[in-house]
């Protein structure tokens, strides 16, 4: 189903799009600032490449977005009025130009006043001086008024220092969002006194991944400094962060850690600023495709709150019973048991009914969800005999596949902490999964790698699929197989109007396939969500699975956007190409020509370089060439290296690059299926020979040549022969295919049965070490009987 309607268009200014010429799709790398306060208007800049005034912005930010004048190829400015009722969170942003859709960046909406860092703000007090001295630079930094969200960036070795004032006994929370909002920064935060004394430090905070939080009670009246930097002073790019500073209400974890989607759940919050465990009831709901929701502590008063994650599942869930007896802890008819190692050394045991021969996967989610528990899972039989155990397998959490042995009707599942710790925060989710043969698909667009400086795919989702009008793009689809090893055919629904798909077969046993997507020449320029399906399994019981974009960040606060395949139809390429043969064979040691013709548009007046990928390295060469300015065709001579006679079918992806209107253009050509084959084959007309000692017999062998190979082929024995046995060597001249070999069993031969290997070879030019090119031997079964009495 075509899902373009799922993209919420917030603003689209279409004034001068058609008059602009771009060399490629836009890429965006920085937002200044990276967020805004709800109910407020924020003007922010999008920096990147291949931008242009009038570029269309796609986002789901609830509010009104307007482009501001003065945009250019390097940056655009937008004014955003964030609706007061906007949920606090992170929202994806893309830009579209006629050349396509950009990558994604994340814009945060918060509920605190926003502050932007001002460089230089690197100096700490008393950094390089005597004890009494302090840095004048630090003392003059602007005073941060709490509460606030500070927008900063600390790429590389940068460190940002913020000054704030407080009174003795004030409880101040400083939380840095970085990984959770798509940044490459691994943040650390320090609290430093006015005299330069470090008072507290946080790096990785449990529950926040590699993000961090400091919760401090100020020791005296005065000024303090918060210092944010990458934990190893090697902040990635982008290295932005948002530091929330103030007196917040927050919890560190919940029990249970999650609930079934669409159900209400009783949840107890722990830790943080809560005076004690706080019980509340929540509705487990989130947008489609999201596996988590974000909750804030339901505390009274005007105090700002910090959200935390709560997992959503689709299966029924249980809560660990109070009873310590295993029989009282029956775990059945549900996929998830929510439990907790409440005290040090505790072991939670569950009786789990099974049937003999049943295969199950038992899996724990704990550390993955921010729990301090380093879980160990043990499966024992009814008599307490150990059957299986796992420590890791699901990250640090255990995962094991288990087949039920005979003679038992239940097992006992035991969960404990590897380090024998425990406490109210040591929660887990124990899952029992019936494994099934399955697969999943991930899309990695081909030929449109992120530009330098763009966020990595694992952080903010990959770039979109940009399909040129009248042209094509090649999407790379990766397969994650779960027991299913057969072929998968990729298709797009017929509703993807104007888009056609070719190829898309992922062979059995392989994990990558290519799908060629073409747009009609008159397809309207637009952005949409493309549905790509893969079908596997038997024809009678097909499995159809949708493809999603890869690179979901497990800690990101917004992940729904990567569950789709964003696509756009872009303007036509400056030239169109035709490849004479879409499927070719190339013989070992031979060449094969491939003709490419180009239909130049008005701007494609320069020479065109053609390159390829996908062919076996060092084995097949010659797949590059140049079409001169005055020419419209190119004949590539593909050459198979006789020293490396690999076999197989390879999808050759051809890409043309040229200068058009002063810009570098990259154009994808149709896929060419290249089959690398042997130049001849050998077949025995009889696979068996029954003879007696002292007899002779002719063996008929047929050599089948592939055009244009027509050289002499030698056929004869491979290796040594049994005593008394001989086989002639025959040369099959050009134009002939039949060889008659004489097999003689001498009087001194021993009666026996054996396989006689027969080899076909030819002298092949270009082989330096051994000119003899050999194909795999074939076997003749020979049975030698004793000489019969006269």
């Amino acid at each position: 189903m075509h899902t373009a309607s799922r993209v919420l268009q917030v603003a689209f200014v279409s004034c001068t799009l058609t008059s602009l010429i771009f060399a490629g799709p836009p890429s965006i790398r920085e937002l200044r600032p990276w967020g805004g306060q709800r109910g407020q208007t924020v003007t922010f800049t999008v920096a990147g490449d291949q931008l242009a005034a009038g570029a269309e912005m796609f986002s789901t930010i609830p509010g009104k977005l307007e482009e501001q004048p003065g945009g250019n190829a390097g940056q655009m400015v937008f004014k955003l009025e964030v609706r007061p009722d906007s949920p606090v969170g992170v929202y994806p942003i893309r830009l579209r130009t006629p050349k396509g859709l950009s990558n994604v960046l994340l814009f945060s909406v918060g509920d605190l006043p926003e502050i932007a860092e001002t460089e230089p703000n690197d100096a700490l007090p008393a950094m390089n001086q005597g004890v009494a001295a302090s840095s004048a630079a630090a003392a003059t930094l602007p005073l941060v008024s709490m509460p606030a969200t500070v927008n900063g960036s600390a790429a590389g070795t940068d460190q940002d220092v913020f000054r704030f004032a407080g009174k003795k006994g004030d409880r101040v929370v400083l939380e840095v969002e970085s990984q959770r909002i798509g940044s490459m920064l691994d943040p650390a935060i320090h609290l430093v006194s006015a005299a330069g004394r470090e008072l507290a430090l946080a790096d990785d905070t449990p529950g926040l991944g590699i993000d961090c939080r400091l919760d401090v009670t100020l020791p005296e009246d005065g000024e303090y400094f918060a210092v944010v930097h990458d934990s190893k002073y090697a902040g990635g790019n982008p290295g932005y962060y948002r530091m929330k500073i103030g007196s917040f209400a927050y919890a560190e974890t919940t029990f249970p850690l999650g609930a079934q989607r669409g159900r209400e759940a009783d949840v107890t919050l722990f830790g943080g600023t809560l005076a004690g465990p706080l019980k509340t009831r929540v509705m487990a709901s989130a947008a489609a495709g999201q596996s988590r929701m974000f909750m804030s502590p339901p505390v009274a008063g005007p105090q700002a709150r910090l959200p935390f994650q709560f997992v959503l599942g689709d299966a029924p869930e249980l809560i660990e019973p109070d009873s310590d007896a295993t029989d009282g802890r029956l775990f059945k008819d549900a996929a998830v048991m929510n439990g907790r190692i409440a005290k040090p050394g505790e072991i939670d045991r569950y009786k789990f009914p099974v049937t003999v021969g049943q295969t199950l996967i038992f899996e724990v989610d704990a550390a993955n969800l921010g729990s301090p528990l380093d879980a160990m899972l043990t499966v024992t039989g009814p008599q307490g005999n150990g059957l299986a155990s796992a420590d890791d397998g699901n990250g640090l959490d255990p995962r094991l596949q288990f087949t039920v042995p005979g003679g038992i009707d239940h097992v006992v599942l035991a969960v404990e902490d590897l380090h024998r710790r425990g406490g109210p925060m040591f929660a887990y989710r124990l899952k029992a999964i019936t494994p099934r043969t399955d697969f999943s698909l991930q899309v990695l667009p081909s030929g449109s790698q992120p530009p330098p400086g763009a966020p990595a795919a694992t952080q903010a989702g990959p770039p979109a699929l940009n399909i040129p009008r009248g042209g094509l793009t090649v999407a790379q689809i990766n397969v994650v197989r779960s027991g299913y090893n057969g072929p998968i055919q990729l298709t797009i629904p017929e509703t993807a109007t104007g888009i056609t798909a070719e190829d898309g077969l992922i062979p059995a046993g392989t994990n990558t396939g290519l799908l060629v997507l073409s747009a009609a020449a008159d397809a309207p320029l637009r952005a949409f969500d493309l549905e790509i399906n893969g079908q596997g399994g038997a024809a009678t019981q097909p499995m159809v699975r949708p493809a999603a974009t890869a690179g979901r960040n497990p800690m990101a606060m917004a992940d729904a956007f990567v569950a789709r395949v964003p696509a756009a139809i872009t303007e036509a390429p400056p030239a169109k190409f035709t490849v004479a043969d879409r499927s070719i064979k190339i013989l070992h040691g031979h060449n094969r020509q491939l003709k490419i013709t180009v239909e130049r548009g008005p701007s494609a007046t320069e020479a065109i370089n053609v390159n390829s990928t996908g062919l076996p390295l060092f084995s097949v060469g010659g797949a590059t060439g140049m079409i001169a300015k005055e020419s419209n065709e190119l004949t590539l001579t593909l050459t198979q290296n006789p020293e490396l006679p690999v076999l197989g079918t390879f999808p050759m992806q051809l890409t043309a690059t040229t200068q058009a209107s002063g810009q570098q253009e990259s154009i994808q050509l149709p896929l060419v299926k290249v089959e690398v084959v042997r130049p001849f084959s050998l077949e025995l007309l009889n696979q068996n020979a029954t003879m007696t000692v002292g007899s002779k017999q002719r063996i008929a062998a047929l050599v089948r040549r592939e055009a244009p190979f027509d050289s002499v082929v030698k056929v004869g024995p491979a290796g040594s022969l049994p005593q008394g046995v001989s086989l002639t060597m025959v040369e099959i001249p050009k134009g002939e295919s039949l060889a008659l070999l004489e097999l003689a069993i001498g009087d001194n031969a021993t009666p026996a049965e054996f396989d006689l290997l027969i080899r076909a070879s030819t002298d092949m030019e270009g082989r330096k070490r051994d000119k003899d090119y050999v194909i795999p031997d074939i076997s003749l079964k020979v049975k030698v009987a004793p000489k019969t009495a006269q």
């Binding site: 690197d122 100096a123 700490l124 008393a126 950094m127 390089n128 001086q129 005597g130 004890v131 009494a132 001295a133 070795t157 940068d158 460190q159 691994d186 650390a188 005299a195 330069g196 004394r197 470090e198 430090l201 790096d203 990785d204 449990p206 930097h229 934990s231 190893k232 002073y233 090697a234 301090p372 380093d374 160990m376 420590d391 890791d392 990250g395 640090l396 590897l418 380090h419 024998r420």
Partner: protein, 832 residues
């Protein structure tokens, strides 16, 4: 037969002290002997072949002693129980008690001797043969004790394994080393006696007692008593602390071995003697010590795996010495001065305030004081001791203190990017830093390092377990770091200079055999040791499936056993790492607190009371045991408060001695009578250069302004300067990794290198800033001295330098030249 109890009681009761009454003349030049001291003051001869000797000391009027053993006359009573041989050996004659009159130096004393029996026991392989082989050098590392033996004959190194040696002697080469019916034809005798060719030469005289003993052992059938005869538990040296007044004076030693059954044995003839300071005193193979020059040395005695040390003091000519009382700020000074007084060493004066300030800044914070701090301190008219104490407290609470000591502990804990990865090294450094900032008690600090579990990112104390890696490394690393002892040698054989055995090595490692380390999710990199994928983040845990250390000899699991027992509480016997942490950190542990007190002392005084500080052993005794014991007790009493130790040291007068010596302490290098110059460490030097020149450090990989001492690993800012000036690679806990020597390369770097040159001419540096205020020549010089040497210039310096500045047209250039000269002076490069 006499009642045995009575004999023992009588032995003690009849230990009669020296009595006056001799009218024997003394040489005029000899000091007057006022009494005799006989050591031991009573003898018990166990059997008919038990020969003993005694030491006769003459006590002079001023309390010093003189060895009179060689001239003493021994006269047994008429009981006929024992005889005295011509060479002074006490020889039993019949069972009973005897009284011996000792006359020497004009004095007379008496000695009780008991003979328990006259039976002659068979020659013991353990007590007789093994010591002989040790004495003859058969089992030395250069001979048959080498790892592969010599010429097909291998003994355990220095005889640490009697069972192995017995097997090697008796059963190797088909037992052909012995001819029991004709012992003299045995290879064991004929080879060392050169009856047949012996590569080791002639080492056994057929006329010697050793030859006779071996001959009798062979004749008695080469019996083994390895399983039944215990080895000695300790050796006693008499006199325990000989004092020799003048070079040339001599003192004989007697060595007595003590056995588990309470018996003793005179083993002087079979013991090995060596002197730690041969230029002070030499010792003969027979145990005679001779003074060479004034000073102190230790005579190390080795016998059958036991070590004893006798501290020898050669007083030398101290004519005219009269102790001048000096103030004592604490027990440290009292104990230091007690020894100095005894050695007739007068300590130096106090250093002045400026010297003290620079010294204590560098020692506590790694940085020199800023000029404004110097001015304020010198201008403060408060009592010097009070303001010094106040400064110590101020520095102890500074961030720079935390940075400096974080850097030191990062060395010892091997906070190393190679082992811990890019993020892990920062995480561990931050953990150390927070521990020091909170002044975490040392026992808790050690305990957390030794027992922690979890992720190296979430609980960075676990990084230490990543460094330890395996039980063997743990055995060596933990003992050296937390106990100040070295277990490396006893991995392959019993320790040659300490009582540690090979078994103890593996018994100690066994405490770490059940540590598991697994990769946490996330990036990996090749392990620097074995190349296997190693998680940047790892999780340390206690293995549920056990884990053991196998002894290399038996290939059998070794049970964890504490190297020595103490009365401290072991609360966690079940979990091995916790048990060893209990044992290590207990106040009763004889090494834990002592080694750190000693280590901290060395950081402030330049030398440990035991030195090297991480090589505590019997054969490396303390120069002032009383002081070290007192510091250890004080450290324990403070709750293992490291700052308390530093505070106590820094406030002591001993620490505040001037570097200037006097006539009486100029040759003292061991007793802390004056301050010793110490070259600044690489990090101190780098940071001091930036502080002096007023420039901002810029190291790759960290923000500008990060000081060298703040780096998690100096490899982060790889540079020639750090390696040239000896930053440690942090691949072992040895203090020796940090190089403190001075080299030509360092000098050339300082003179010509970019570090100093670029800092001096930095357009934002001190000189550039100073020149903006257009200072007069005198102020310019004063500012340079305050910035670089942390003191105002003296009048004579002003008198020389100001005219030079005045004569130079380009004041900036003149200031740069002056700063360059001052930075290259020892006053800057050394902590004095």
């Amino acid at each position: 037969m006499l009642n045995m109890t009575w004999i023992l009681g009588a032995t003690i009761a009849l230990a009669i002290g020296a009595s006056a009454g001799s009218d024997e003349m003394q040489p005029i030049s000899s000091p007057k002997i006022v009494s005799l001291s006989i050591q031991p003051n009573g003898l018990t001869l166990e059997h008919g072949s038990d020969l003993r000797r005694v030491i006769v000391l003459g006590v002079t009027e001023d309390g010093t002693t003189v060895d009179l053993t060689g001239t003493a006359k021994f006269t047994p009573d008429a009981s006929g129980v024992m005889r005295v041989t011509a060479d002074g050996l006490f020889e039993p004659a019949k069972e009973g008690l005897a009284k011996v009159t000792v006359e020497a130096g004009g004095q007379r004393a008496h000695l009780a001797v008991a003979v328990r029996g006259m039976h002659v026991p068979p020659v013991s392989f353990v007590r007789d043969v093994m010591p002989l082989m040790g004495r003859l050098g058969c089992n030395a590392g250069t001979c048959h004790g080498a790892q592969k033996g010599r010429n097909g004959f291998r003994l355990s190194l220095r005889g640490y394994d009697p069972a192995f040696d017995y097997e090697a002697l008796v059963n190797d080469v088909g037992g052909r080393r012995f001819n029991r019916s004709a012992p003299d034809e045995s290879l064991m005798l004929s080879k060392p006696a050169q009856g047949v060719p012996h590569e080791g030469g002639f080492v056994l005289d057929p006329a010697s007692r050793a030859y006779a003993t071996l001959q009798r052992w062979i004749a008695e059938g080469c019996q083994s008593d390895v399983e039944t005869t215990p080895r000695p538990t300790r050796v006693e040296i008499l006199p325990a602390a000989p004092e020799l007044s003048m070079p040339g004076n001599a003192q004989s030693l007697v060595v007595v071995a003590h056995y588990p059954d309470g018996t003793t044995r005179d083993v002087t003839a079979d013991a090995n003697f060596s002197s730690t300071m041969t230029d002070v005193a030499t010792v003969t193979p027979e145990g005679k010590v001779t003074a060479s020059r004034r000073g102190e040395s230790q005579i190390v005695v080795r016998y059958e795996g036991q070590f004893g040390v006798a501290g020898v003091t050669v007083m030398g000519d101290r004519t005219g010495f009269a102790w001048q009382d000096v103030a004592e700020n604490s027990y440290i000074d009292a104990l230091v001065y007690k020894k100095l007084k005894h050695l007739k060493i007068q300590p130096s004066e106090l250093c002045d305030d400026a010297e003290f300030m620079r010294r204590v800044y560098l020692d506590l914070t790694g940085l020199p004081p800023a000029p404004e701090s110097v001015r304020a301190f010198l201008a403060d008219t408060t009592d010097s001791r009070a303001k010094r104490d106040r400064l110590v407290e101020q520095l102890l609470e500074s961030q720079q203190f935390v940075d400096h000591w974080t850097n030191k502990w990062s060395d010892l804990l091997q906070c190393n990017k190679k082992y811990l990865g890019d993020k892990g090294v920062w995480a561990f450094r931050n953990w150390i830093r927070q521990s020091l900032a909170s002044n975490k008690p040392y026992d808790q600090f050690a305990r957390e390092l030794l027992t922690s579990v979890g992720s190296t990112y979430d609980n960075p104390a676990t990084s230490y377990q990543r460094v330890l890696r395996d039980p063997n490394t743990a055995a060596e690393n933990v003992t050296q770091l937390f106990l100040g002892t070295r277990f490396q040698c006893n991995k392959c054989h019993d320790h040659p200079f300490e009582r540690w055995t090979q078994n103890q090595y593996y018994q100690f490692g066994a405490f770490f055999a059940q540590v598991g380390i697994k990769n946490a999710p996330g990036p990996t990199r090749p392990d620097p040791i074995d190349g296997r994928p190693m998680g940047e983040n790892q999780v340390v845990y206690e293995r549920r499936d056990g884990g053991e250390v196998n002894h290399p000899k038996t290939n059998q699991p070794v049970t964890p056993v504490f190297p020595v027992s103490h009365s401290g509480k072991i609360a966690h016997e079940a979990v091995r790492r916790q048990a060893i942490a209990d044992w290590i950190t207990a106040p009763e542990n004889p090494y834990f607190a002592k080694s750190l007190a000693n280590r901290l002392w060395s950081y402030f005084l330049g030398k440990g009371i035991i030195d090297p500080v991480d090589d505590i052993r019997s054969s490396n005794p303390a120069s002032n045991p009383e002081l070290l014991d007192a510091m250890t007790a004080d450290f324990i009493k403070s709750g293992f408060d490291m700052k308390h130790v530093m505070r106590t040291i820094a406030k002591s007068r001993t620490y505040q001695h001037s570097i200037k010596t006097n006539r009486w302490n100029e040759d003292d290098h061991d007793n802390f009578s004056h301050a010793a110059p110490r070259r600044l460490t690489a990090e101190q030097l780098m940071d001091a250069i930036h502080a002096a020149t007023g420039t901002t450090p810029k190291f790759a990989g960290v923000p500008a302004g990060f000081r060298a001492a703040q780096l998690a690993d100096t490899k982060i800012a790889a540079g020639e300067f750090f390696s040239l000036f000896g930053t440690p690679p942090r691949e072992s806990p040895c203090e020796c990794e940090r190089k403190g020597e001075v080299s030509l390369g360092q000098t050339l770097n300082l003179i010509n290198g970019p570090t100093i040159a670029d800092s001096i001419i930095d357009p934002n540096g001190r000189i550039a800033q100073l020149m903006k205020s257009n200072p007069d020549d005198r102020r310019l010089v004063e500012e340079m001295y305050l910035a670089v040497l942390n003191r105002p210039p003296r009048d004579d310096e002003l008198g020389k330098v100001v005219p030079q500045i005045a004569a130079t047209a380009d004041k900036t250039l003149a200031a740069q030249d002056l700063m360059w000269a001052l930075i290259n002076s020892p006053a800057f490069l050394f902590n004095r």
